[in-house]
């Protein structure tokens, strides 16, 4: 019971946190691009766009940062047995994240936000790039830590059977990390560019500042098209890596109970959950699963039944099959939505090429609604990754069921779960209210809110930035 509640809490808080993380990473990069464009061509509309999307970034960062704090504390609060067991290895990347990324991100965000009129243009531009770099570095260390849970490397077991770090380089060259990290960063860029595209499309449909928002739409599509294609490629390579180190994760994602060679890909099926080993597969594509899971047309995929037997022989009795329903549909939500986004990006690219983007009512309308897809894909991706690791908290080393805090009661967790859900609902409402409100505002003037000290009168002290 306590263990299940702790899992619900971690799932709830981390999924929520990751609604904001990719927006921050993606938008920080895109805002930095807009500001670079302004720095180079000095056209006022780029400065106005930088400020416009910068505001959306700031609103989002506020929620992303504070919900990240919860994750940092939660390991110790709810998962003390886990923390005690793995801290020697797992703690290091978290501490490095704080030192290398959080300081960078927060300090330079403050400098960027308040430094518009105080810093030389080039220095101010460097600030937003350092913020963008900070967000990506932060994701890097977290992915190092997370990948170690998927595929533990770089450690030995000490006399108490606890993992101890003995090769930090191995953590950073873990294949699960390399592919996973690139996948996450690309997903964040997709998220950012789809948000920028949606906002621009809305503004263009309202015929407001069409020329300015066309610039933003163009940048979005230029970023989106290559990243979505790359993401699908990297995601499929990540699948091959996972099939090697976490075969049950991928077998469950394909609801593949029996070993097959060659294997067909199930496009759509009914049933196939935990207790249904004979789903009615409605559409299948021959050889595709072999190709996806092994990079070879006739590759063998070991089925869940056989994997279960192997694991029982190795680790003792227990259930070693992840939730098949979650795995199967997470994979498909990601893959199918990504395909739709490829089509959208190609269409957008074509319209831009022909110079007709602003006139295409249907493209604009679809682009607005496409803003929900990255959130669904990101969440599905993490469900696939984390649910697919079960029953392990660290693959092969520690089971989730043994990892929660012995001293924390289910009452404690109920209290904290309710508190977090209530706070997060409030935060979500406030965030959506502000994001939609500021996304629909008119583009500000070039110097709106930027009280240039020169304009304020000779010799006057520069007027400070005021927020709050």
């Amino acid at each position: 019971m306590t263990n299940d509640l702790a899992r619900w809490q971690f799932a709830t808080t981390s999924i929520y946190h990751f609604l904001f993380v990719p927006v921050t990473i993606g938008l920080a990069f895109l805002v930095a691009l807009l500001q670079t464009a302004w720095y180079r061509n000095e056209k006022p509309e780029y400065k106005r766009l930088t400020r416009f999307f910068g505001t959306l970034l700031l609103i989002n960062v506020a929620v992303g940062v504070v919900t990240g704090l919860v994750q940092e504390f939660e390991f110790g609060m709810n998962w003390s047995a886990y923390s005690r067991f793995v801290g020697d290895v797992f703690g290091a990347p978290l501490a490095m994240e704080g030192l290398a990324a959080f300081f960078l991100e927060s300090t330079f965000l403050g400098l960027w936000l308040f430094g518009w009129d105080r810093l030389p243009k080039a220095v101010h531009l460097a600030c937003i790039w350092l913020v963008a770099a900070g967000t990506m570095l932060s994701a890097m260390f977290i992915m190092v830590a997370n990948s170690w849970m998927q595929h533990p490397v770089g450690y030995t077991l000490n006399s108490h059977g606890q993992p101890q770090l003995n090769n930090v380089g191995a953590l950073f060259t873990n294949p699960t990390f390399l592919w996973g990290y690139v996948h996450v960063i690309l997903a964040a860029l997709i998220t950012g560019s789809l948000i920028m595209l949606a906002v621009s499309a809305w503004q263009i449909r309202k015929r407001r500042e069409v020329d300015s928002f066309l610039h933003a739409a163009r940048i979005s599509v230029i970023v989106l098209l290559p990243t979505i294609l790359l993401t699908m490629f990297v995601g499929s390579e990540l699948g091959v890596v996972e099939a090697k180190y976490q075969p049950a994760k991928i077998a469950a994602a394909e609801a593949q109970w029996t070993t097959c060679k060659p294997c067909s890909f199930s496009v759509f099926q009914i049933g196939g959950g935990q207790n249904d080993k004979t789903p009615s597969q409605i559409i299948e594509i021959p050889h595709l699963l072999s190709l996806l899971a092994t990079n070879s047309v006739n590759g063998e995929v070991v089925g869940l039944n056989e994997l279960q037997k192997q694991d029982e022989a190795k680790y003792g009795p227990g259930n070693y099959v992840p939730d098949v329903f979650v795995q199967y549909w997470s994979m498909r939500i990601m893959a199918y939505l990504a395909t739709l986004i490829v089509l959208l990006a190609l269409w957008g690219g074509w319209l831009l090429h022909r110079g007709r983007l602003a006139e295409s009512k249907w493209f604009l309308r679809l682009s607005i609604w496409a803003v929900v897809t990255p959130f669904l894909m990101n969440t599905a991706g993490w469900m696939l990754t984390e649910s697919g690791r079960q029953p392990w908290i660290v693959q092969g080393l520690m089971k989730t069921v043994n990892a929660n805090s012995p001293s924390v009661t289910s009452t404690d967790i109920w209290i904290s779960l309710v508190v977090f859900v209530l706070i997060y609902l409030g935060l979500g409402a406030a965030d959506i209210l502000l994001m939609t409100r500021y996304a629909r505002k008119e583009l500000g003037h070039e110097d709106a809110g930027s009280a240039e000290s020169g304009a304020a009168g000779a010799g006057a002290t520069p007027i400070p930035a005021l927020t709050y």
Binding site: V89, A95, I423, A456
Partner: protein, 356 residues
């Protein structure tokens, strides 16, 4: 020196740094409705910490993550034992952190009042609860042989822990007041100064009692150590200087007071990291709670490489925004200035029409 001792020192420095830096942020947060009567004045007060508070808070996060990496058992026992207090700390960190960004984004009175409360209460709760938690480390909690906490929520509310919490709140209030004196102009500065003196004397009393109580709790010595004496002297000097024109010295003294108070707690704690009130043999120590030598060595190298850079750019950010924050002139005076919020493009309330 053993690496685990070095890491104990690093973590103590991170906690000290956190309280010195974020301490004035908490103080400003608690005081901003008192030193600012109008909306604009309150914004001026909060904007004295605007560019920095987020970076200051990172000191706490790194202290937490550093504990996880260097002393996994300490992290595991401490965070699971202090469950409800840390839940409240998180709630306060969330409410307060978002308030900075969200409050100015709407004109709605209830919206603004809500975030003002989040700022004030959050700034109070965090130092109070963290103080309780740090005090508990030293006074001891029921911990069994496998280093798990065996008590309940009430066991966390030790009298010594509560006193430590109150002392931290008082020091943050004083620190916030001296900071505001340094960074604002009248009338905000005058109100901060009027508050700083009584706050300074209250903090002095709390710190003196705290030092005496700590001596009896730790039981190592009958006379206070140099750092404890420094804390007492610094807080009294800060209280004295608060009424003078020496704003810089008053702030320096409140910084030293808060640093020495937090530092002295860690000095008393060493070589333990958490005392077990059940049995001394169950104490968590720098020895039995630490990570292996390799992990500590890696972390040491990373810290030696990164921390100096952090100090340089964080210091630079303090330098860039060093001037006093003034309320912008009313819009009528300078029609050529569109608005006063360079940082936040669609500036909310032009401060021309301040509301009480």
């Amino acid at each position: 020196m053993h690496l685990h001792t070095l890491w104990f020192i690093v973590l103590a420095i991170l906690w000290v740094g956190f309280f010195v830096l974020e301490g004035f942020d908490f103080g400003v947060g608690m005081l901003h409705t008192l030193v600012g009567r109008t909306d604009t004045e309150r914004r001026v007060a909060i904007n004295t910490i605007g560019p920095w508070w987020d970076g200051n808070e990172v000191w706490l996060i790194v202290a937490g993550a550093g504990t996880f990496a260097a002393f996994p058992s300490w992290y595991a026992t401490m965070f699971s034992a202090l469950y409800i207090p840390l839940l409240l700390v998180l709630a306060a960190l969330i409410a307060r952190g978002v308030a900075f960004e969200f409050k100015g984004r709407s004109e709605d009175e209830r919206w603004r009042a809500t975030w003002t409360w989040c700022m004030t209460i959050g700034s109070l709760l965090i130092p109070l609860l963290l103080g309780v938690g740090l005090g508990d480390l030293l006074v001891g909690l029921p911990i069994n042989s496998s280093h798990d906490f065996t008590g309940n929520f009430l066991d966390l509310l030790t009298p010594y822990g509560l006193w430590t919490g109150l002392t931290m709140v008082a020091l943050c209030l004083l620190h916030g007041a001296t900071f505001l004196m340094l960074r604002t102009t009248d009338p905000v500065r005058a109100r901060a100064r009027a508050l700083a003196t009584p706050l300074g004397w209250a903090a002095s009393v709390l710190v003196v009692v705290y030092v005496i109580w700590t001596l009896s709790v730790a039981g190592n010595a009958d006379v206070p150590g140099p750092v404890q004496i420094l804390a007492v002297i610094a807080v009294i000097f800060a209280a004295r200087l608060a009424s003078t024109e020496s704003n810089g010295w008053a702030f320096t003294c409140s910084s030293v007071a808060i640093a020495a108070t937090v530092g002295s707690l860690f000095i008393e704690l060493y070589p333990n990291v958490m005392i077990s009130s059940t049995k001394a043999a169950y104490n968590l120590t720098v020895n039995n709670a630490a990570s292996g030598g390799y992990a500590l060595k890696v972390m040491t190298i990373v810290t030696v490489l990164l921390l100096p850079a952090v100090l340089v750019y964080q210091g630079w950010s303090f330098y860039v925004f060093r001037g006093r924050v003034k309320a912008p002139p009313a819009r009528d005076d300078r029609p050529s200035v569109p608005s006063a919020s360079p940082g936040t493009p669609p500036a909310p309330a032009a401060p021309a029409a301040p509301q009480a």
